[in-house]
């Protein structure tokens, strides 16, 4: 590992730790008095939504395919982890251990579902794939409505309340870090090449289907972990929670945040998932507001608010201290060019439609 990498990991870790301390200070000092618990809940909601949205962004942004069935993977993860944690409860595991095992089980179950869907479906592209993913999510929902183990259409309740904000924060950090590393790895680069031009990718010796299926599995895995946190936060759920609207909500959060930008996903998901809670009285109009925002974003910033720009604490610090200014400036210029080209590409796409 290069020294500059180590420094940047340290800086980023410290940055995240500061945010954590800040939130902890706010909650522990009870500034909000009796509603502290309520705000903690909103933050937990934000944590699992971030994981779900970021994982969907792997498919939509990195691989360039639309998946309209992400709620299906979330529900597989949610039910699988709830079943596992109920089975293991009272076996002497500490709470955090039980929670992690349950989440991992949820992730693996969702990953397997992703594999099962991905192998046949990922030979398709574009609209056809989107339709197959919708169908998958509906099939899963109907299955969960009929299985006895998931409550069979009735509410599955009595799930242990294991999600608390402090744990969820760090689980979210770990998940997003892994996804970020995935995007930046050789594997992620390969998947992006397939997105850019699958013919050229195949001609360069890339096994297109393999890489697409694996990305889909990784995305489903993290969706499952997000679902696991959801289950252990809500403690009760019915299959209809994970309907098409939920998938559409996640997808619109990805698009508004920025297709291909994990920064966009994190900020978009945190903001959009806490917003309806903060304006409870208008909550019925949430989907309406979403669609209006989505239309506005599509008109004025088709690549999403952040495009595929990533926030970098290291770069910010460098620019503030004036060191390595040129490199940073170059990066910024390149980022702008990239975003412009993206916007143009989207314009062209729209014109084509």
């Amino acid at each position: 590992m290069k020294k500059s990498d180590k420094v940047s990991y340290l800086i980023n870790f410290l940055g995240i730790f500061m945010i954590f301390l800040l939130l902890m200070a706010v909650f522990e000092s009870k500034i909000f008095g009796s509603s502290t618990q309520y705000f903690k809940g909103i933050c937990t909601t934000a944590c699992y939504t971030i994981i779900m949205v970021a994982s969907l962004n792997l498919v939509v942004g990195c691989m360039g395919e639309f998946s309209l069935g992400h709620a299906g993977f979330v529900s597989v993860g949610a039910y699988a982890s709830a079943i596992v944690s109920n089975a293991l409860a009272g076996k002497g595991l500490p709470d955090i251990g039980l929670f992690l095992v349950a989440l991992l089980a949820g992730g693996i179950a969702a990953g397997l579902a992703g594999l099962a869907v991905g192998v046949p479906a990922l030979r398709l592209r574009g609209d056809y794939l989107a339709i197959v993913t919708v169908a998958f999510a509906e099939i899963i929902r109907v299955c969960f409505c009929n299985f006895a183990i998931t409550g069979g259409g009735k509410t599955m309740s009595g799930i242990l309340k294991l999600s608390n904000f402090y744990w969820c924060f760090w689980i979210m950090v770990v998940c997003v870090t892994i996804m970020y590393m995935f995007v930046r790895s050789r594997f992620g680069r390969t998947v992006k090449a397939i997105r850019e031009d699958y013919i050229a990718a195949a001609a360069s010796g890339i096994n297109v289907t393999y890489y697409k299926v694996m990305t889909f599995v990784v995305s489903a895995f993290f969706a499952g972990i997000g679902g696991g946190i959801y289950a252990h936060y809500m403690t009760a759920m019915i299959p209809t929670n994970f309907n098409f609207m939920y998938s559409a909500e996640l997808l619109s959060e990805v698009i508004i945040g920025g297709i291909g930008s994990l920064t966009g996903s994190v900020i978009g998901a945190a903001f959009l998932s806490s917003l309806p809670e903060m304006m409870r009285q208008f909550s019925q109009y949430r989907m309406l507001a979403y669609s209006v925002v989505l239309v506005l974003v599509m008109i004025f910033k088709p690549a999403g608010i952040f495009g595929d720009w990533e926030f970098s604490l290291t770069r910010l610090l460098k620019r503030l201290t004036g060191r390595g200014g040129r490199g940073a400036a170059q990066d910024a210029v390149q980022g702008t060019v990239r975003a412009n080209v993206q916007d143009e590409a989207h314009e062209k796409g729209k014109a084509g439609v």
Binding site: K192, I199, A200, A202, A203
Partner: protein
């Protein structure tokens, strides 16, 4: 080096290639000319495994290409420059070249230095997004990316497509130079005159059948070819 025997390919009910045989010897430039829809691109795509053949044999350097996974064909050092400059538009020039070395990352830096030496223009623009390059530069990038895999043979599909006459000349001189370094080339072209002038041998393809084959220089004088493809 490459031998195709009795190749038949169809798209659903449409029989595109009816029993084509051709061979390319070590160190040659062989061109495959013909009108639109004759099946030139189909033959190249079938050789590199992007399209399934119905029957026939394709052997490259002793290995049966029809039994080789498409993603493994590049490991046999057979590169394909697809039609229409398929480059990774949202990646930088350098990233595009790196993708060319995907199957074999050994000595990537050295190969990249060689490619940059051959295409100084690409070096100038190596941090630029490939989508912002001009048509000629994109074609150079596509060729450069194929060279990153250190191929023994390159399949080139319509390298002159959509380029100005001046750039067409430049691309063809690049192809000749690449060939001089010992890389065998199978060239598919609509620009028959240009293709024939740099090739050793050529095949003329008409709606899925090879109708004329022979020495490229002789084909340039052949009446049938002159009439149908050279407009003389």
């Amino acid at each position: 080096m490459l031998e195709v025997k009795n190749l038949e390919v169809s798209y659903g009910a449409v029989h595109a290639i009816h029993g084509v045989s051709l061979q390319v010897r070590d160190g040659e430039i062989v061109s495959l000319i013909g009108a639109n829809g004759a099946g030139k691109t189909t033959i190249l795509r079938t050789i590199s495994g992007l399209q399934k053949a119905d029957t026939g044999e394709i052997t490259f350097d002793g290995s049966d290409l029809r039994k080789t996974e498409p993603s493994r064909i590049i490991n046999l050092k057979l590169a394909h420059v697809p039609e229409g400059r398929h480059i990774f538009a949202q990646m930088t020039v350098e990233e595009n070249l790196e993708m060319g070395a995907f199957a074999d990352v050994k000595d990537m830096a050295a190969t990249m230095a060689e490619v940059y030496e051959r295409f100084p223009r690409l070096k100038e623009r190596r941090r630029q997004l490939a989508g912002t390059l001009s048509g000629g530069e994109q074609q150079m990038l596509a060729v450069g990316r194929a060279l990153m895999g250190k191929p023994k043979m390159i399949l080139m599909d319509e390298p002159s497509m959509g380029l100005s006459p001046l750039l067409v000349k430049e691309i063809f001189s690049i192809i000749k130079e690449v060939n001089k370094q010992g890389i065998t080339i199978l060239l598919v072209e609509q620009n028959a005159k240009m293709a024939l002038s740099i090739s050793n041998r050529a095949y003329v393809l008409e709606t899925g059948d090879i109708t004329i084959e022979g020495d490229a220089r002789e084909l340039l004088k052949d009446d049938r070819v002159r009439k149908a493809y050279l407009g003389q």
